[in-house]
Symmetry: C2
Subunit: 204 residues, 2 copies
Amino acid sequence: MVKQERAVRTRKALLGAAADGFSREGYAPASLLDISRQAGVTSGALHFHFPTKAALASAVMAAAAQRLREVVQRCETRTRSGDALQLLVDVGHELTLAMREDAVLRAGFDLDGDPGCPRGIGEVSSFLGRWITATLDRADRAGELRQGLPADQVARAVFACTVGFQMLGRRDPAWVSRRMQTRFWALVLPQIAAGHRGLDAAGS
Amino acid sequence: MVKQERAVRTRKALLGAAADGFSREGYAPASLLDISRQAGVTSGALHFHFPTKAALASAVMAAAAQRLREVVQRCETRTRSGDALQLLVDVGHELTLAMREDAVLRAGFDLDGDPGCPRGIGEVSSFLGRWITATLDRADRAGELRQGLPADQVARAVFACTVGFQMLGRRDPAWVSRRMQTRFWALVLPQIAAGHRGLDAAGS
């Protein structure tokens, strides 16, 4: 293996181990020594890649934000064009699934809400909030929302619910299940969608 | 001041200082020495009242759960009888206000979501979840909910939103404002209430 490949693998292993540690124990209590051990690298190698704990957390959050963008892009490619509300539902489902399987993505949201984590590096939930707002604005302009509904308020409620589900899911996985997402959208879609639009609460 | 009075005051000061410390820094990083200093008592006095950090956190959560019960009881006394949906709105407003003013209540929710905090002592958000479910069930049985709406799903969405607002409010106080609450209920009430019931989204 050439040197650069090894560096990429080491960095990836460190991000995964850091994500696990930060989510399980919280930012402040997580031990850098444990993280390097779990990643199978020396403490020196960790410090070479990430000189401080804050730098490591920042890298986990940047990676999580990238994964979130990829989730959104996957759905944007797949969902039938022009249907902003269906895209919102699809991203909800895809995100729920990704959160269960992807420790780095999960750690991004966890660090966002961790009071022990240095502020100002959080970009995961704020990206999601902006995306939900933009998507509901697009739905509104396309006439997909029921008339008179304030798109920005709907966006805030959907965003708060998404953050709440994730938060509650930390202690009880039922909150971040496909079943919970489907039931949530089955409740919300008829309240916010204009007419019968053939939307699928279970994702398209 | 007699001995018992002094003990009550010391305990109260310690709970307040612990709530501040846990919310600001997180459970694990918060220092017991700083907490005793902020409370104006010796480290020995802290350990006399709370032998471990977990015992202190547990006491903060129990106090927070008690404050939450008091918020609910205040609204139950005040809200016109039999109107479960208005009671739900009123508790939302009262809780938002209490969260801003009451560090112990806030710390209860913060510790509930803090991965560094020992599990199994959280009772604050679970109490709120159960209360919201019971109240929407009562609204449903009284015919206050729009027909066909599943009360348990509405309860889950309202609970997740409440947790999400609180979580987002840690970084941006606009999420836990009276204005945000009023707008939220102005959006949600017409979707879930049967007919025009004279409900007030701004609280009664």
